[in-house]
């Protein structure tokens, strides 16, 4: 904006301001309504959604794959989209830093004196695209589910075992239902192939590259065996 445009803006703003209403009580009234809305929404969310506590942090379960808070899903998904190791720094630091610098310096490279979104096609399009991209990444990140999450409905008595199996990272190599990798044999119907005792033997004394799970507490191992044996 050159000096002339600046002056013209300030003059027009002065005129609009003269025609406006005083902050108190008009804007204050709207803000107060908004205050009530914000507080009520948060309170209702707190009552309905609550604040459940997850299992206690356990540094020994090295395979627990974390999930960030939903508003970091877009970053999380970026990491999944750019999976090759060479691109990881780009996803973790490169793109977010660039986006942040672009955002911070926006008023300094957008020199267009026009303010109406309908007459700023480039800025408006870019803004809408960014919103769509962020929304899409957030949605995909939310859909993806944690790699250690077994999305399967099981009878309540097997729930503990399911959590234990997920927590031990079996999905890194084995497929269970919709989740998991294909390095080891699929476990979706392992219960029909191996008896519970066989499953237990394999967990304690596995063949090939599978690590032994003999060091687990007995009740945890029992629940895992029960869960796996129930898969038919």
């Amino acid at each position: 904006m050159d000096a002339g445009q600046k002056e013209e803006y300030l003059r027009e703003y002065e005129v609009l301001k003269k025609k406006g209403k005083p902050f108190f009580p008009y804007a204050v009234a709207k803000d107060s309504v908004m205050f009530l809305v914000v507080v009520v929404v948060i309170a209702v969310m707190s009552i309905i959604l609550g604040a459940e506590q997850g299992p206690k942090a356990d540094p020994t379960t090295t395979t627990y794959t974390p999930r960030p808070e939903w508003y970091f899903f877009f970053l999380f998904e970026l990491l999944r989209v750019l999976k090759p190791a060479a691109l990881t720094p780009l996803a973790t630091i490169g793109i977010p830093t660039m986006a942040l610098v672009l955002l911070l310096l926006l008023p300094f490279y957008d020199r267009n004196p026009e303010r109406d979104p309908r007459r700023r096609p480039v800025a408006t399009t870019a803004g809408i695209m960014v919103i769509i991209a962020m929304a899409l990444l957030t949605f995909l990140g939310a859909e993806a589910g944690a790699p250690t999450e077994i999305e399967m409905d099981v009878a309540p008595q097997y729930e503990d075992g399911k959590v234990a199996v997920a927590g031990q990272g079996c999905l890194t190599c084995h497929k269970i239902g919709e989740n998991g990798g294909d390095l080891g044999p699929e476990l979706t119907d392992i219960g029909s192939k191996l008896p519970a005792a066989g499953i237990r033997r394999t967990l304690i004394n596995p063949s090939g590259i599978m690590p032994p799970y003999s060091a687990l507490p007995p009740d945890k191992l029992d629940s895992m065996v029960e869960f796996l044996a129930s898969l038919r």
């Binding site: 013209e8 300030l10 003059r11 027009e12 703003y13 005129v15 609009l16 301001k17 025609k19 406006g20 209403k21 005083p22 902050f23 108190f24 804007a27 204050v28 709207k30 803000d31 309504v33 908004m34 205050f35 914000v38 929404v41 948060i42 309170a43 969310m45 707190s46 609550g50 604040a51 506590q53 997850g54 206690k56 942090a57 540094p59 379960t61 974390p66 999930r67 960030p68 808070e69 939903w70 508003y71 970091f72 990491l79 990881t88 720094p89 973790t92 630091i93 830093t97 942040l100 955002l103 911070l104 926006l106 008023p107 026009e114 303010r115 109406d116 979104p117 408006t124 803004g127 927590g167």
Partner: protein
């Protein structure tokens, strides 16, 4: 009725009697109907007290021109509900600050006790789960509102001259709000928060040049240790909120000083009528 002591209001606060009403205070001679007269004077004085107090404070701070200027300043024509998003974000922050103080009273920032103290807040403390829920969901609401506010400023072109600096402050506030989300996520010390934090710090570590140092700073060492949690706690409830409060102050100062924008489609007629006629003719 007992005599109301004149010393209740210190002399600087006492207002000189209005002309024509000076009868009693300076009055010589007893009033004809004693007590009731006395009572009305006391009531009168008490009614004046707030005004006097305001006057006293104003005389010493000079705040009233500032306050009236702020409250009665004109908001441009066309200001609509989109303009409440900034205040709404601040209200969400206030909810976070108040519930945060409450939670800090019961929370123990040590890896051994943190989880149990959260269990205690959730199950035993009166309204504990509700307040924890307010804090947990308040953060999501604040993030949504701050992004909506940024969207409004972006699409209305409100970041342009003369408000560029306020845009920059706003972006820093967004980053700090996300940092609050990140540091607060570890504090409940459950599996989710622990492992998400490990990953977040590893991600920091991949950054060029400063990355490893930043990760070491956050972890308070090369590995996740007991000091890490207290470090996150200090960042989450002292450093970052302090910075946020200071920047909200600067943000609001600039808002009051520069004024809020009018919606870009509302035009003001800047040309005097006579000038316009000349042009047409």
């Amino acid at each position: 009725m007992a005599k109301f002591p004149d010393t209740l209001i210190p002399p600087p606060l006492r207002k000189p009697a209005k002309p024509g009403q000076n009868g009693h205070r300076n009055g010589n001679g007893a009033s004809p109907n004693g007590d009731s007269e006395e009572k009305s004077v006391v009531v009168e004085k008490l009614k004046e007290a707030p005004v006097d107090l305001v006057g006293w404070v104003d005389e010493r701070t000079g705040a009233s021109p500032f306050l009236t200027g702020m409250l009665l300043r004109k908001v441009p024509k066309g200001t609509n509900w989109f303009y409440t998003l900034g205040s709404a974000t601040m209200f969400a922050f206030i909810v976070q600050a108040l519930t945060g103080v409450f939670l800090a009273m019961y929370y123990t920032p040590s890896p051994v006790e943190a989880y149990a103290s959260i269990t205690n807040i959730t199950n035993d403390v009166f309204m504990g789960e509700f307040v924890r829920g307010l804090h947990k969901w308040g953060s999501s609401v604040m993030i949504i509102l701050i992004f909506l506010h940024m969207g409004r400023v972006f699409f209305f072109g409100a970041y342009k001259y003369p408000r560029e600096l306020n845009w920059v402050i706003g972006v820093v506030l967004i980053v700090l709000t996300l940092v609050m989300g990140l540091t607060g996520y570890l504090l409940p010390f459950d599996q989710r928060s622990y492992w998400a934090t490990i990953v977040a710090m590893n991600i920091n570590g991949t950054g060029p040049i400063v990355g490893p140092y930043l990760a070491d700073f956050l972890r308070a060492g090369a590995e996740f240790e007991s000091t890490t949690l207290s470090r996150f706690y200090a960042l989450h409830m002292l450093l970052v909120p302090g910075a946020i409060i200071a920047l909200i102050g600067a943000h609001l100062y600039l808002v009051v000083k520069l004024g809020t924008t009018a919606p870009p489609w509302v035009r003001g007629d800047t040309k005097p009528k006579s000038l316009r006629k000349e042009k047409v003719g």
